[in-house]
Amino acid sequence: MTVKASNTIPARDSTGESDLRVITVRVGNELLCLDILSVVEIVRTADLRMTRVPNAHTNVLGVVNLRGKVLPVLDLGGCLGQPAHGARERLVVVEMGSSIAGLSVDEVAKVVSISRSDLGESVTARGHHGTPLTVAGHIMTFIDVGTVVAAAGGG
């Protein structure tokens, strides 16, 4: 999972100057990547018992007990405007400032390095901010965890 993938972004990443390590995940048919520095850990959804939170935002799937901490879980697909879907096998636990949240995804693919300069202008689509880029021949969207979570949950 942590294998560094070769990608189509040319050699500049080997200079290491403005590298950004991202984790790529799949949600529905969409490939996304998030800054690895905001990721705390990845857990299997099956190991956790979800408690529904009534009257919360629809993207809030519930809360789980993560080793004694109450972790809110958000539906990343829902945050990105996708319709509800099945799998949601993994939780990407992310940290934003003092808050922590689990983002449910279908699959965690790999960790890759990209160059910051490859991140162009972010675009707003379907109500969320993201920056499209090509990694390993795939087009994916780089998402800012803080923005997505703020837009989905409390915000």
Partner: protein, 776 residues
């Protein structure tokens, strides 16, 4: 201070050595009344040298002090005992100033403090008949500036600022031959953010100051009642003294100055030089108010110059102005008493600013945060224990390994006990005496009663109860409202009381007592009471209730009307003689603390308000209930009872379900429906958990009761934000997360839906007040 300056001061102090001996000899001789012309000559000579040297070092305060003292000596012949005491003080002040200099302390608060009095004595024929001196206008003003120096302390302002010297300039250095004439000495204030080195001391300082100020307020009011209590007066004096010392040490000059002036007045009071009058009490209490303002600034981390001159002026004029009115012999006698002790500290190192009253008690101050940390760990431990207990129980059901199992359960039992004790100890660390919450009220009631022209006697009975700090912090405001209402609206005017055959003096009682895991606070008054009929009429008039709704309303429901939003406007309050102002706030705060509030009132006899609060908020007992597959927790502190009901006992009242319990119609909240729980097949039997929050009582319809459990409230966090009806989450013994219900929220949602349902009908908050509902 640079090296050159230091060496100059060294030289000065060295040279001053013999002069100090002369000063001390002078003091002794004066005290023994054995001073002769030769001794006076030596004294004058010493002072002249001292004055010159001080002038050379630009120590203007000392220079002025010496010169004035010489002038005073010149008048000793004619005025004798009248100025002897002051002379002794002046000499001691000079001596102290030198002592301070030997430690490179160039502030001379004592010297500066005495300067105005010297000036006054030198130019004041009116009060003390002085032969051949004129009464100059400046001298009259100087009377105001006099702030005495009767205290026996050495105030060390350990931080020497450059501009302190300017301060001395302003205060003492005479612009003209007339010495040290000014209205009020300016207090040099370092404005702006508090520096880091002081900030380190600040938490302790604030904690101590708050305590003292709280105590002083209460003690002063007590003093007003019993002016003969010498021990009390001493306590008050020491409180002001301590505050002065610590504030001065931290360079908080405004506080130090104000407390110094208070101290002066208190000292004179203590020595019987001033009579305890109403005016004097008022000035002292006003000084307390200003003090609180100053302390609030300091707490905020920024020093601001505040205009507290009015109070300062009143204090110093009390201290000075009332003096001449006293029998003349009192002056030298009283002043001579101070120097008797003074040489001792003067000879030793400057007195430490530490409080002389601090008892060697067994108390340590700990940051609340640290206690909270331990609390958090204890909470985690509680959760761990819960889990262990549960696993144990499961194991007992599934395994037959007898001896091992019994050992495990023994170990678990011990762990359970220890955890419980730990939890209790940590919790008790956070407990503060209710007496501290109460301490503000004597002052408040006194002021309020005076403003209203009523006579009110406040009785406090804290019953030695203690309460969690967070609860104590929150309950203050609601109590203020309740007590204020009792004095303002409860107690009648003097005329009305006399007409009603009551004692002129109204009584308000504030009491606390324990009841299980709760503290009960009672606010009682022997006032007019509330007339249910008037309240009902008002509710109708304000469109809160319809006339038919109030007809069958019981008295206790009518009293609860005062909590209804929209009921309490200023107009309503005066008309109804009911408590209105801020009752909304009271209710909200008490709900937040998971407390309940009940009112009992008897017309013409009085009103009693009871507030019931949980002892602590962090770890609470919870009632686990289930709706479908979901488990929710109701804070046990709010649970009044749980009953089973059949479907046919549920009445439909105004389109809402309700149930009659103990003769009262109780609105029902269907938890499953409100929380959107997947609906389970209708059962014939439901459980209703009756909960009380503030003044409200409602029933929660649940499917099953699962039992009681200790829970630790964990917030849902910012990510989820607010979820209506949910206060937080906790982790159960089985590892699942269960949500804790926010009863306040749920009850509010009940009102909203009622309002929506009856949008066309009159605005209805009858359920809000727990009043009987109209049957449909």
């Amino acid at each position: 201070m640079d090296a050159l300056e230091q060496s100059l001061i060294d030289g000065f102090v060295e040279e001053a050595g013999p002069l100090r001996v002369a000063l001390r000899a002078g003091v002794t001789a004066l005290q023994d009344n054995a001073i002769d012309a030769r001794a006076l000559g030596e004294l004058t000579e010493a002072l002249e040298v001292l004055s010159r040297n001080a002038g050379f070092l630009e120590l203007e305060a000392l220079e002025a002090l010496c010169r004035d003292t010489i002038r005073l000596i010149d008048r000793l012949d004619t005025e004798g005992p009248m100025i002897a005491g002051l002379l002794v003080e002046a000499l001691v002040a000079a001596e102290e100033a030198i002592e301070g200099l030997s430690h490179y302390v160039i502030n001379m608060p004592v010297a500066a403090g005495i300067a105005p009095r010297l000036a006054a004595a030198l130019g004041r024929p009116a009060s003390v008949p002085l032969a051949g001196s004129d009464l100059s206008p400046e001298a009259q003003i100087a009377l105001l500036g006099s702030n005495g120096g009767g205290s026996d302390d050495l105030l060390v302002l350990g931080l020497d600022y450059e501009d302190e010297d300017d301060d001395e300039d302003d205060a003492v250095a005479p612009p003209a031959p007339a010495p040290a004439l000014m209205e009020l000495e300016r207090v040099e204030v370092v404005e702006g953010p508090i520096s880091d080195e002081i900030a380190d001391f600040l938490p302790d300082y604030m904690a101590e100051s708050d305590e003292i100020v709280e105590r002083l307020d209460e003690q002063l009011v007590r003093l007003e009642e019993d002016s003969d209590d010498a021990a009390l007066l001493n306590d008050i004096f020491r409180g002001a003294h301590t505050l002065k010392g610590t504030s001065g040490f931290l360079g908080l000059t405004q506080v130090a100055d104000l407390t110094h002036k208070m101290e002066t007045v208190l000292d004179q009071l203590r020595n019987g030089e001033l009579p305890l009058t109403q005016d004097l009490m008022d000035v002292l209490l006003r000084a307390m108010d200003d003090l609180k303002l100053l302390l609030r600034d300091i707490r905020g981390g920024t020093l601001v110059r505040r205009d507290v001159d009015a109070v300062r002026r009143d204090l110093v004029s009390l201290a000075a102005g009332d003096r001449p009115a006293l029998p003349l012999p009192a002056v030298p006698v009283a002043s001579a008493a101070a120097p008797a002790e003074a040489p001792a500290p003067a000879g030793s190192a400057p007195a430490p600013p530490a409080s002389p009253t601090r008892e060697p008690d067994q108390i340590i101050r700990v940051d609340v945060e640290r206690v909270d940390q331990i609390m958090n760990l204890a909470e985690e431990l509680v959760l761990g224990r819960n889990r262990l207990l549960q696993l144990n129980a499961q194991l007992g059901r599934t395994t037959a390994e007898g001896s091992l199992l019994s050992m495990l359960s023994e170990a678990t039992g011990q762990m359970e006990m220890l955890t419980g004790e730990l939890q209790e100890s940590v919790m008790s660390m956070r407990l503060v005496p209710v007496a501290r919450v109460f301490s503000r009220f004597p002052r408040m009631v006194r002021d309020l009663a005076r403003d209203l022209g009523k006579e009110v006697e406040l009785t406090l009975d804290d019953g030695d109860t203690k309460i969690d700090k967070s609860v104590a912090d929150e309950i203050g405001d609601p109590l203020v409202h309740l007590v204020r209402n009792a004095v303002d609206h409860g107690i009648e005017s003097r005329e009305q009381r006399i007409a009603a055959g009551k004692a002129e003096r109204g009584r308000v009682k504030l009491a606390a007592s324990h009841e299980g895991n709760h503290v009960i606070l009672r606010i009682e008054d022997d006032g007019a009471g509330m007339d249910p009929e008037v309240l009902k009429a008002k509710a109708v008039e304000r469109g809160i209730l319809r006339p038919d709704e109030v007809e069958q309303m019981a008295d206790h429901d009518a009293w609860d009307l005062i909590f209804a939003p929209g009921f309490s406007t200023a107009e309503a309050v005066t008309d109804v003689s009911g408590r209105g102002v801020g009752m909304d706030v009271v209710k909200t705060n008490i709900s937040r603390l998971h407390g309940t509030i009940t009112i009992e009132s008897e017309l013409g006899v009085g009103t009693r308000v009871m507030v019931r609060l949980p002892l602590t908020l962090a770890i609470i007992g919870g009632l686990q209930v289930a709706c479908g597959d979901e488990v929710y927790i109701i804070p046990l502190t709010s649970v009044l009872e749980a009953v089973t009901i059949n479907n046919d006992q549920v009445e439909i009242v105004q389109g809402r379900r309700a149930v009659i319990s103990r003769g009262k119609v109780m609105p029902l909240i269907d938890l499953a429906a409100t929380l959107g729980t997947p609906v389970s097949p209708d059962r014939a039997v439901h459980y209703v958990v009756i909960v009380g929050l503030a003044e409200r009582r409602v029933g929660l319809l649940v499917e099953r009761l699962l039992g009681q459990v200790d829970v630790v409230i964990k917030p849902l966090g910012q990510v989820i934000g607010a979820a209506a009806g949910i206060a937080g989450a906790t982790i159960l013994g089985n590892g699942d997360v269960a949500l804790i219900l926010d009863l306040g929220d749920l009850i509010d949602s009940l009102d909203e839906s009622v309002n929506q349902d009856n949008a066309s009908s009159a605005r209805c908050t009858s359920e809000a007040a727990g009043t009987p509902l109209r049957r449909q």
